[in-house]
């Protein structure tokens, strides 16, 4: 009979009409996102060792890493993430040895203009603090080294004087 197929289709849709809903009311309701989701990137300044691996792993030159050498130590002075070119492939995260670059579950990344889409993760305060720390550590190290050197020198002079004293006494004794 012509139309049997049509009626069967209608039966399915009517059954579905009284069934459970498959949709959720975004943005009030949200589905849970899996842990591996690649959303907005997040950067941990203190974990980064400025190794440049993420920059080299990226296919699209998204990441610009700025570094400065303070007291022979590399300090991160900039980490610019140009989100508009990111493929969200995760190759940077995979390359990072310290998990300094990570992706969060935030997927609402639209902005009103191009200038605000890139993220500069590193704040001036962080750099200043880090440089201060490095300098302080270097100074402490230098001081410790100086102290150690001074002690060593003092010990040496002491032993020298002792020897000289000894020599003198022997001389005196010899002279007597």
């Amino acid at each position: 009979m012509f139309g049997k197929g049509l009626l069967k289709g209608l039966k399915i849709t009517i059954g579905r009409f009284f069934g459970k809903k498959s949709t959720v009311q975004y943005p009030e309701e949200r589905l849970p996102l899996p842990d591996r989701f690649y959303g907005k990137p997040d950067f941990h300044y203190d974990k980064c060792i400025a190794c440049n691996l993420c920059v080299n792993a990226c296919p699209n030159k998204v990441i610009k890493l700025g570094t400065e050498t303070v007291e022979k130590k590399k300090v991160v002075t900039g980490y610019h993430f140009d989100q508009q070119y990111c493929l969200f492939c995760g190759l940077c995260e995979e390359a990072c040895p310290t998990d300094a670059i990570k992706f969060t579950k935030d997927f609402e990344l639209t902005t009103y203009d191009r200038d605000t889409i890139g993220i500069e993760f590193v704040k001036q305060g962080q750099i200043d603090k880090k440089i201060k720390e490095v300098k302080q550590a270097a100074a402490e190290k230098a001081a410790a080294a100086e102290k150690a050197a001074a002690e060593k020198a003092a010990a040496e002079t002491k032993s020298q004087t002792e020897e000289a004293d000894k020599a003198e006494t022997t001389n005196k004794e010899g002279g007597a």
């Binding site: 289709g9 399915i12 849709t13 989701f37 690649y38 296919p59 190759l91 992706f103």
Partner: protein, 364 residues
């Protein structure tokens, strides 16, 4: 009475072209006399871009070929690279690849089924297929972190192991799929209007299909038994039991229905792979910096649209000298102009839909 031929543009901004594809039709009344396809609106020069990327960096770009079957595109590339570098992929990785690849195939066929239903006027079928595709998208997101652009495979293995809860979810979906397919058949396949629009429309003979080097469901709908997974098994496909569904008329209806049948077969493969899934490493030992010896490799896989071939030429540096993709949609589309001649303009959309093209892949 003198009639005049009319020139009409279908696309590039037409939803039923599944992207940005343009066909210039010469019409005599409603009948197509001549057709001229104009692809290229989505051309991004991926093959050229890849010449300035390192081997691992190529991977995310392959997702953007056939974005409805990103994992299969990944697979095509890593397959060619493994051949070039003579890498042995661990067992577990192969099984994961099969599971994910077949899930992706089902997802791709679901889109094809859905879009076809929409193309010929039944938007209800569209929504039903997309509801179930969402489950697969969730699984792919769970494993790889992205829905359409997973970049999940790696040269020599996969990016990460299957997460907790995946196996149960996958099993549940496979068990549910037959019910869903029954629904599609009730809604779309069995619908008389749908059948009238598609049966006996634009048949392709087996001989013509072979001569035009068609591949995938379009070729098999014409009755040619050629599925790379059976004909020349790659990966571990020789260990699974499955059938290759074949059509008999090669018309639009066969091309559509073949995909529905293939979903069941894919589910069968996944079930076996889940049962056999071994433990072990998921990555072969590949050097950190990939520098293949001078040489070239060509490898093919059966993607959801047909034979996906990747040709890699290495000059011994860290970047490929040349990568070429044999994209199935592009080659299948070569037969389109000839096929639609003599059919009515309303059929043009039905015929194009039955080809299941993805413009990211056609234009590359």
């Amino acid at each position: 009475m003198k009639t005049q031929e009319m020139l009409i543009n279908v696309g590039p901004q037409h939803p039923s072209t599944h992207g940005v594809f343009r066909v210039v039709l010469t019409l005599d009344g409603e009948t197509v006399v001549k057709a001229n396809s104009v692809p290229g609106y989505l051309h991004r020069g991926i093959e050229k871009i890849l010449e300035s990327r390192t081997y691992p960096q190529v991977l995310p770009y392959t997702d953007r070929l056939d974005y409805l079957a990103g994992l299969l595109m990944n697979w095509g590339y890593v397959n060619a690279m493994e051949e070039l570098m003579d890498t042995e992929v661990p067992e577990r990785a192969e099984h994961i690849r099969v599971i994910m690849g077949e899930l992706q195939r089902i997802a791709s066929h679901l889109v094809a089924t859905a879009a076809y239903s929409g193309d010929v006027g039944g938007l209800t079928g569209f929504i039903y297929c997309f509801r179930d595709r969402e489950d697969i998208m969730d699984m792919i997101e769970m494993v790889s972190g992205a829905r359409l652009t997973p970049s999940y495979m790696r040269i020599g293995g996969v990016a990460a192991d299957l997460p907790d809860g995946f196996l149960e979810k996958c099993q549940k979906f496979i068990d549910y799929l037959p019910t869903a397919i029954e629904e599609y058949n009730g809604l779309i396949t069995g619908n008389e209007i749908f059948q009238h629009r598609t049966k006996k429309v634009a048949p392709i003979t087996a001989e013509r299909a072979i001569n035009m080097s068609l591949s995938g469901p379009i070729l098999r709908a014409s009755g040619v038994n050629y599925d790379l997974r059976k004909a020349r098994p790659y990966s571990i496909y020789d260990r699974f039991e499955f059938d290759v569904p074949l059509g008999s008329n090669g018309d639009c209806f066969d091309r559509f229905y073949l995909r529905v049948l293939e979903m069941t077969e894919s589910a069968r493969i996944i079930r076996q792979a889940l049962d056999k899934l071994p433990d072990g490493p998921i990555n072969a030992k590949v050097p950190k910096i990939i520098k293949p010896a001078v040489g070239e490799a060509y490898a093919e896989i059966e993607s959801s649209k047909g034979i996906m071939g990747v040709y890699v030429v290495s000059d011994g540096s860290t970047k490929p000298y040349r990568i070429h993709f044999r994209r199935p949609s592009f080659i299948n589309l070569g037969h389109f102009d000839e096929l639609i001649q003599g059919w009515k303009i309303a059929d043009v959309i039905a015929i194009l839909g039955s080809f299941d093209i993805v413009l990211g892949e056609v234009d590359c």
